[in-house]
């Protein structure tokens, strides 16, 4: 059991409360004819009860510090790159965004040389275009290059 369990227990208890409220709004129905919210209501009750148990245990037990959170900068940059890829995929197009994505990870996150990161990015973008677009015929957005 770790220190963060107090907050996680509380957060999940609140989430389960919301799930139960939303389930009631959807309609619980009766035991004869269960409604749309019937199943999620009881699942919410179970999650709520278990979250409260976690919260209580975390409040009254000696807690460990939990795992160390190393490499924050890299993790954050990789997550940003992923979300950036997602948001710009249709606008920029698959080929350009793949190139930028790989270059960013190698140059900015991994701090590799310019020539290496640009070279690998071009290679990966070209190879994935050949595999996904030409060979597998996955309909990936052309974006800017489509115009």
């Amino acid at each position: 059991m770790i220190k963060a369990d107090r907050w996680i227990g509380l957060l999940l208890a609140l989430l389960s409360l919301y799930v139960c409220w939303e389930s009631v709004r959807l309609g619980l129905g009766t035991y004869h004819r269960p409604g749309s919210g019937f199943f999620s209501f009881y699942a919410g009750i179970v999650l709520g009860a278990l979250s409260l148990v976690l919260l209580c245990l975390a409040l009254f037990r000696d807690l460990k510090a939990g795992e160390a959170w190393g490499g924050w900068r890299r993790i954050l940059l990789v997550a940003m790159a992923m979300f950036g890829f997602t948001l710009l995929l249709e606008r920029l197009g698959f080929l350009i965004i793949t190139f930028v994505f790989v270059w960013f990870l190698l140059k900015v996150v991994e701090r590799r040389g310019w020539a290496f990161s640009l070279g690998v990015a071009v290679l990966v973008a070209g190879a994935s275009y050949a595999v996904f677009d030409l060979w597998l015929k996955a309909q990936l957005p052309a974006g800017l290059l489509g115009n």
Binding site: I2, A81, M82, L89, V102
Partner: protein
């Protein structure tokens, strides 16, 4: 006789050029995934899944299953040469395998791991061949209450066997059940928890969720830590074990195979726990238990056979009952549904080409692995030297493109990214994704069977307790649920806790 005819039919399916090629790709990729630390079979299967949607379901399943049991082969190479398990089921192999490599016996260690895996894989396929159809015929008697109870038992078992915390495992299972209701209610056609987001109308797709929870989160975890992959510098010679090695290993391989297969059938046990039990059993039965951990061949032969047999054992409940034994089987079950098939006891009867084709392909795949792996070991060693900094951008790119190509929709990619971050946080806060995935996959079936049972019984819960099979499953679930409390009481009575 029926089984013999069926398996012969299976071979006619598995031995077509196309299916041989798919099996080959599957086992080769499986070995690669097994060799590479930092990417597990769940992540790899979810990565590959979108590319199979346009292919024939039988060929696709042959490839995905090959990838799964192929992983168990590859994991040993990294354990023996690098002292890092290539995948979790090979942790135990590090104990004696790496010590053998240090003593200049990397060859026999790799050799016995490959031969043991082949023998275990073959024994387990025979078990699967006979057991799955029998279990499926038995399951034909199941009605909604039995199915509901069986699924409750499976989810409870998987949550109970969470390696970190039973409570957290149960919480994740409950969260998975909640997530499973997102989308259209099949009974009333009402939208649930969709918030006018189009991509949520059909429910949370299992593939983007799994790709996020296993693929992306694994990358994020590895990016935060530096993997030290120093390959042990030794000349790998004499891959064929000596007569003495065989004498020492034969019984551990047999015991490991049987133990692995039967434990692999049980939902939740997966492939990791059986390997630890197998190692423990061999140590207990050995005349020289003190040698375990110092480079004894039995310590490699038993767990390596065990993890292969368990990987095949995992398929029994998936094919016969439509109930996945672990998160990877849950992904494969999701794949079957996406291919338009109906997993359950009728699957073997309705699609004999699929079941018997896959079973036959397992014999072929195991043989391919044995023939391929030993000569390819130098190549795997080279691949191990590729820095993770180069590998992970490619892994991420595949997940991103893979999730987009599911429906050509950015919504799926966002779901995957969100669950990637969630999976990362879950890992950091010591929650496991397996119960969540299993509950997410089983949730719709669980709800369907519960509501159907209640509709038929007029709102009464008695069928769950008066029908013997349903009651038995529920009793087992209850016993699992209260067992942590009993253990606590036992410890308390022994004065383990302060003040008692």
């Amino acid at each position: 006789m029926d089984t013999i005819q069926s398996i012969l039919y299976g071979f006619t399916v598995a031995l077509t050029l196309k299916n041989l090629a798919f099996a080959f790709i599957g086992v080769l990729l499986g070995t690669l995934v097994g060799v590479l630390p930092g990417i597990g079979p769940a992540a790899a299967i979810s990565l590959l899944l979108p590319s199979t949607f346009h292919a024939d379901p039988v060929s696709s399943m042959i490839m995905l299953c090959g990838l799964y049991y192929g992983t168990a082969y590859g994991g040993s190479t990294t354990s023996i040469l690098v002292n890092i398990p290539g995948e979790a089921a090979s942790i135990v192999t590090c104990f004696d395998g790496y010590q053998m490599a240090r003593q200049g016996r990397a060859g026999p260690a790799l050799g016995i791991a490959a031969f043991g895996s082949f023998i275990a894989g073959t024994i387990a396929v025979i078990g699967l061949m006979f057991l799955a159809p029998t279990l499926a015929s038995f399951a034909l008697k199941f009605g909604s209450p039995e199915y509901f109870s069986l699924m409750v038992m499976s989810i409870t078992l998987v949550a109970y066997l969470s390696q970190r915390s039973v409570l957290k495992g149960m919480m994740m299972a409950a969260l998975g059940l909640i997530l499973s209701v997102v989308g259209l209610d099949p009974f009333t056609a009402k939208l649930r928890f969709t918030y006018n987001i189009l991509v949520l109308r059909d429910g949370l797709g299992i593939v983007p969720v799994v790709m996020g929870l296993f693929g992306v989160s694994e990358v994020l975890l590895n990016v935060g830590t530096i993997l030290n992959r120093e390959v042990f510098r030794t000349r790998i010679k004499g891959l064929f074990p000596t007569r003495r090695d065989w004498t020492d290993s034969m019984m551990p391989i047999t015991r490991g195979s049987l133990l692995g297969f039967f434990l692999g059938i049980v939902p939740g046990l997966g492939t990791i726990i059986p390997t630890f039990l197998s190692y423990g059993l061999e140590k207990r039965l050995s005349k020289h238990p003190e040698k375990f951990g110092t480079g004894t061949i039995e310590g490699v032969a038993a767990p390596e056979s065990c993890n292969n047999a368990a990987a095949t054992g995992n398929f029994v409940s998936m094919f016969s009952l439509g109930i996945p034994a672990n998160a990877i089987m849950a992904i494969l079950l999701g794949a079957l549904t996406i291919y338009g098939l109906r997993p359950g006891p009728l699957l073997i009867k309705e699609r004999p080409d699929l079941f018997w084709g896959v079973v036959a392909s397992m014999y072929v795949g195991n043989a391919m692995l044995l023939v391929l792996n030993l000569p390819l070991i130098p190549m795997w060693v080279q691949i191990l030297k590729v820095p993770y900094a180069i590998l992970y951008p490619l892994i991420l790119l595949f997940t991103l493109i893979g999730s987009y190509s599911l429906n050509n929709n950015v919504g799926d990619v966002i779901i995957m990214c969100v669950f990637g971050v969630v999976g990362f946080l879950m890992n950091k806060f010591q929650f496991e994704p397996a119960p969540l995935v299993l509950a997410l996959v089983l949730g719709p079936m669980l709800e369907d069977n519960l509501r159907r049972s209640l509709l038929i019984s007029g709102g009464s819960f008695t069928p769950f307790f008066t029908r013997p099979i349903a009651a038995a499953f529920l009793i087992v679930s209850l016993a699992i649920l209260i067992s942590p409390l009993l253990k606590l009481e036992k410890l308390r009575s022994l004065g383990v806790f302060r003040g008692s």
